[in-house]
Symmetry: C2
Subunit: 217 residues, 2 copies
């Protein structure tokens, strides 16, 4: 049923998710869902938790004996990015929904994840300060880069379904005539390879984290 909710949102977007419609997709009246979940709000939280748990179980993000910390961070970053792109409608929830404590930093927002992440760093020789510093910087990095990426491609299916003709999302129709610098740079702005940008920025982050690690050793 959680899976059904995730599928539903992936397909139609969060705006379309109602208890009644989700029920219908399960051949049941919407009211029946209250057997499994206390409210729609709790359902959204449960979806977020589920995705995080799924990712945690992904062997690709597991710390391997031969991994140094940088390899591990690349592994996790790749896994989170894959998840974000697979569920572009849900990732914003991971970034923005209320957290149980202020020190929980999206997108690694389950206790299990934070535990595993910090333990991995400590096992690779990080000081406690350096591990915490890295946890924070890594989270902000991922949110900053991935939220953007999913909301870029995330043509809100609600609008798209209602009015399939208005897909001017490429911005070709934007009137830049009042903005000379924008006009001048339009070609350069249009060229973006977000995969490449992500890898490049991740490389930068790892360098910066290495400096911090040494400083906080």
């Amino acid at each position: 049923m959680l899976e059904a909710a995730i599928d539903f949102v992936d397909r139609f977007g969060i705006g379309e998710l109602s208890m009644r419609k989700l029920g219908a997709s399960l051949q049941v009246e919407g009211m029946a869902l209250y057997r499994y979940v206390r409210s729609r709000d709790e359902l959204l939280d449960a979806m977020v938790d589920r995705l995080l748990d799924q990712l945690y179980a992904d062997p690709e993000v597991l710390l391997r004996p031969e991994d140094d910390w940088q390899a591990f961070l690349r592994r996790v970053a790749g896994g989170i990015r894959r998840m974000a792109l697979e569920h572009p409608q849900i990732f914003p929830l991971i970034a923005t929904r209320h957290r149980a404590a202020p020190w929980i930093r999206p997108p690694l927002r389950s206790l299990r994840w934070i535990e595993g992440f910090l333990a991995a760093l400590l096992s690779r020789g990080f000081s406690e300060d350096a591990a915490v510093y890295t946890y924070r910087a890594f989270g902000s990095f991922l949110v900053g880069h991935l939220l953007l990426e999913v909301s870029a491609e995330g043509v809100d299916p609600v609008t798209a379904a209602v009015d399939p003709g208005s897909a001017s999302a490429d911005g070709a129709s934007l009137d830049l005539s009042a903005f000379p610098t924008l006009t001048r740079l339009a070609d350069r702005l249009a060229v973006e390879d977000l995969s490449e940008e992500f890898e490049h920025s991740l490389g930068n982050l790892l360098e910066r984290l290495e400096e911090a690690r040494a400083r906080l050793a």
Copy 2:
């Protein structure tokens, strides 16, 4: 009326914003609002635009003759952060709402802002490539750091109003006993000064941007 909507959301949260209630706060039936706005959705977009326009008019974020590019970026970063903290309920919209073109990167997401930002960098000797690179990196940085900050303090007023007793947002009540590393690092995790972290990370970003600027000169 836009102002009223922004006030309303600042006070009660976006979940509480309905056309009828916003109307009531203006001594009018909700249906009257459709004179000024085509839909609730458009209203949210208009609120986002308004905040960005307000910020654009803030003399604190204006490029000054004596500013080098780093001073300018600090100015803008400070202004955006102030805005985010003043409107923690609205900032997530700035980060996540549908954009007119994929190269528009939150939070500097109005054409006016992008124009001004890029022109300022060019005026300080940036190459076109370096200016675009900086625009992108700066946006991701701000979203990554500020979204976090506003959703940390953003005790969702919807929930809070209904159930003022459940304010366990400090996480003191979280059961960490199954997570030894978390338990060990709990004290360190709890200590966070997000202002300081923001300034520190901004400093890092400026260094990295200086390298990129030189490389892309």
